[in-house]
């Protein structure tokens, strides 16, 4: 039984301060982490070297490398190609997407490190959010949690479970098989996903649960605008389309059917994006229009134009990476105020097509040209990113949707894929340390010019790096000073001899609390010998007690201290409160399900 020392108290005070600051957010979480990084060595709780060892830790380097790899994949369009099939299977319903991706991530994460699986899916999830206009905060947290939960499905899914058999060896306990934990793990994954599917709207930020937040409202309205606008349709005019009739122009189709032609072919194969209103539509050409289904179908029928299943000829030009739709707001003191779109003539000058104007909850689609613009009017524009960028540069319009004008390099997709495969093979086949494998992949991408080193630097999210880097010394301090051990002993002694199920629950709770502050590996190493002894004393199965530790160290949802949570915090624009809200629900469910499953099955 270790004695409570001044250092231990100091460590507990520091943990208290950190948690307090996480909650009140007077400082941003990553700044809190840096604060810890600096304060702990000053208080001589860790050595200076240990204080910054977090920055070079396996986890942090892995995250840096995996973000670079992700950026490379995104920039070469690999992610887009990956997203396509996902959406085809999952459709566009939010819960179906959450379920589908979560299951996939959990599956992957059950065989590789959680952080790796989570990071791989980050760009894909960001794409999906952008494409389907689902707030990213609705997607990332369930997926991140699933990645963590997926680590409990097999014995190699997370570091604590990998360690478990080694830690049990001194006690001559029978080791666990690879799939011994699978039933519990699957139940945990299922219950985690179920939590979000059923309670997602209450526990996730930015949803209906916060109807009063203006941002959420805006989102919904934006979706509505997109619905009214319809989607792109590709059509082909018949060979005799122009015969024996007056020329049909882009403008005429818009006036007659409220259908906007955004791209069309001039024979033989010259593709025009953002055609001028007086552009003629020729015979036997392909074109892409934006419009509501009923309007497009009416046009196709009356004009005898064939409607295609999906984009074919313009698949490349109108792909996400080349062009898109943005919402541009007329800025105060903009030169456009009071002018009509006819006078501004965006189509001619910038080759972008205004699809609709959105003013105070009303969408205007007809006779846009005559509408005098006011401050605050949102114009939905379609065009290539390059053209939209030009318009943006002109400064009279504010773009609410960020421009996606990064240069894409689809021709490098093969290299990106190869280096990803190299990294994964190194991890799975050769069992080399994760950070080394991933950094090899990242370096390979940079050398093969999938992305430049500067782009790689820009892609790295420093918030994540410092958040993790700063929490690691806190964990070191907790262990080194014996604080963790003291707490464990104290707690376990305090409860005395109880029913096995209560004991398991308490062990689970303890492991959960530990894993929130110190690393999951540290918590496991610390707790397993303790609980095995306790279980033996209490005549409970010691293997179960050890397993509870191994599993519960993955129950790290309440604070953004788990690597996966730290990674997703920035992109998802989450606050600590969000994690507490959703995380506490999931954590409680986790404990209940885990205890129940263990009790029932073993």
């Amino acid at each position: 039984m270790p004695q409570l020392t001044a250092d231990m108290i100091l460590v507990m005070v520091m943990i208290g301060i950190a948690v307090f600051l996480f909650i009140v957010e007077w400082l941003r979480v990553d700044v809190v982490a840096i604060l810890m990084m600096v304060t702990l060595p000053l208080l001589h709780l860790v050595t200076p070297a240990e204080a910054f060892s977090g920055l070079s830790s396996n986890a942090v380097v892995s995250i840096i490398a995996v973000i670079i790899i992700g950026a490379g994949l995104d920039r070469t369009g690999v992610v887009n190609r990956l997203v396509g099939p996902i959406l085809r299977v999952a459709g566009s319903s939010q819960s179906r997407i959450v379920i589908f991706i979560s299951l996939t991530v959990a599956g992957i994460s059950s065989f590789m490190q959680n952080i790796g699986a989570a990071a791989l899916f980050l760009p894909a999830v960001q794409r999906i959010s952008k494409n389907l206009k689902i707030p990213i905060s609705k997607l990332l947290m369930p997926i991140g949690f699933s990645a963590i939960l997926g680590g409990t499905v097999t014995l190699v899914g997370s570091s604590p479970l990998i360690l478990l058999n080694d830690l049990m060896a001194p006690f001559k306990l029978k080791p666990f098989g690879l799939f011994d934990v699978t039933p519990v793990g699957l139940a945990l994954v299922a219950s985690g996903i179920a939590c979000f599917v059923f309670f997602g709207r209450f526990i996730l930020p930015g949803g209906k649960g916060e109807e009063h937040s203006p941002a959420a409202e805006e989102r919904q309205e934006e979706n509505q605008v997109m619905d009214e606008l319809g989607r792109p349709w590709e059509l082909t005019t018949p060979q005799d389309f122009t015969h024996y009739r007056e020329p049909v122009t882009v403008d005429e189709l818009r006036r007659r059917y409220l259908v906007n032609v955004v791209a069309l072919v001039e024979p033989p194969d010259f593709k025009i994006l953002g055609p001028a209103p007086d552009q003629e539509i020729r015979s036997g050409v392909d074109m892409v229009v934006y419009g509501q289904e009923k309007d497009v179908r009416r046009m196709a029928q009356e004009e005898g134009i064939a409607l295609k299943e999906g984009l074919e000829v313009f698949k490349g030009e109108l792909a996400e990476h080349a062009s898109g739709t943005v919402e541009a707001v007329v800025a105060p003191r903009s030169s456009l105020v009071g002018k009509t779109l006819n006078q501004v003539d965006l189509a001619e000058r910038f080759q972008v097509t205004p699809l609709a104007v959105y003013r105070q909850g009303i969408t205007y689609r007809a006779e846009l040209g005559q509408l005098p613009l006011r401050v605050g009017d949102a114009i939905l524009l379609h065009g290539t990113w390059k053209r939209l960028e030009l318009l943006h540069g002109e400064g009279s319009l504010l773009f609410t949707t960020p421009l996606d004008a990064e240069q894409l390099r689809p021709e490098k997709a093969l290299f990106a894929g190869i280096w990803l495969a190299v990294a994964l093979i190194m991890v799975i086949v050769f069992k080399i340390q994760l950070s080394v494998c991933l950094m090899t992949g990242a370096l390979g991408m940079i050398i093969t010019r999938v992305l430049t080193i500067d782009e790689a630097y820009q892609a790295v999210d420093w918030r994540t790096v410092f958040l993790l880097g700063g929490l690691i010394p806190l964990g070191i301090a907790t262990e080194k000073t014996g604080t963790a051990a003291w707490i464990a002993h104290t707690v376990l002694n305090a409860i005395g001899t109880v029913e096995p199920i209560v004991l398991l629950a308490v062990i689970g709770l303890l492991a959960t609390v530990f894993t929130l502050v110190i690393s999951n590996v540290g918590a496991t190493v610390l707790l397993v010998p303790l609980v095995v002894n306790m279980a033996l004393a209490a005549h409970t199965d010691p293997r179960m007690a050890a397993l509870v530790v191994g599993l519960a160290t993955s129950n790290s949802f309440i604070l953004p201290t788990h690597q996966v949570n730290a990674l997703y915090m920035g992109p998802g624009r989450y606050r600590s409160v969000d994690f507490m809200k959703a995380g506490s629900v999931v954590s409680i469910v986790f404990l209940v399900v885990m205890t129940a499953m263990l009790y029932l099955f073993y």
């Binding site: 001039e266 024979p267 033989p268 010259f270 003629e280 020729r282």
Partner: protein, 273 residues
């Protein structure tokens, strides 16, 4: 009313007949005077233009420059022919105006012996040498038209009518031509005018683009210009854009379609049909 194009083996004789036909019908005579105008407008030498029309290709002459000069003449001549009631002579129009129903094409020839006589007289040379000269000239004409337009201009099937001065008086020839013009089948109509307009437009476009795209081939159909250019795949879009822009600026052009040819030889074979 129709357009008449006269071609002759003897320049002076042909010119005289064409001139007289124009006089009888009250038509405009379009002859070598046009070259002076082209020379002035396009800043080229009139001699060079005439030489491009007359001289058989030499080993040393630069073909591309000759083709360019001929294109200048072709474009200018076609523009003139758009207005009816014209007799054209000496501008090689019989080689580039084909398939236009209201254009009456007449070839005036002499018997070989007669031609030798004329040459002997005008050149003041012995008859024997004149005979050889006549033969050489015919060969030269053939070679010239083959080289410039891939056609043999001595081939009678190019013409609606071949009049031999060996059997006809000049007066009679003039009379026959004037009679022919009255036939209904030589009257202009919407289709034939369109054909001629298309040719004129194609010639204008080709001329405008020739410098930048020497091997360009141009067709026109009712304001729609179809250009065939050669390009490597990587410059394709740039070149297409360039042609579209350059051609699109010309008057009378409504649409530009740019086809890119990769198979150079196959297409060359096709273009000479």
């Amino acid at each position: 009313m129709p357009v008449i194009i006269v071609s002759a083996d003897d320049f002076q004789q042909g010119r005289e007949i064409a001139h007289r036909v124009a006089g009888v019908l009250g038509y405009r005579f379009l002859g070598r005077d046009l070259l002076a105008r082209v020379a002035q407008e396009k800043q080229v030498s009139q001699q060079d233009l005439a030489r491009a029309l007359d001289e058989p290709p030499g080993l040393l002459s630069r073909r591309s420059r000759r083709q360019r000069l001929l294109s200048e003449i072709e474009a200018a001549c076609l523009e003139q022919l758009l207005e009816d009631n014209v007799v054209a002579y000496g501008l090689a129009a019989h080689l580039y105006v084909r398939g236009v129903s209201h254009v009456l094409k007449v070839r005036i020839i002499n018997e070989p012996e007669q031609r030798a006589n004329i040459l002997a007289q005008t050149g003041n040379i012995p008859l024997e040498r004149a005979r050889k000269l006549a033969q050489r000239q015919t060969g030269g004409e053939r070679r010239w038209s083959q080289d410039a337009y891939q056609l043999d201009q001595t081939d009678p099937s190019l013409y609606d009518m071949v009049l031999s001065l060996g059997t006809l008086e000049q007066d009679k020839a003039v009379e026959i031509i004037c009679d022919m013009v009255g036939y209904r089948k030589f009257q202009p109509m919407t289709y034939s005018r369109k054909c001629l307009r298309d040719k004129a437009l194609a010639a204008q476009v080709r001329l405008a683009l020739m410098e930048r795209f020497p091997d360009i081939r141009v067709e026109a159909n009712d304001g729609t210009v179809v250009a065939y250019i050669q390009s490597l795949k990587k410059d394709q879009r740039k070149k297409q854009e360039q042609v579209r822009q350059m051609a699109g600026e010309l008057p009378g052009v409504r649409h530009v379609e740019v086809h890119v040819i990769r198979d150079y030889f196959g297409q060359a074979a096709q273009s000479s049909r």
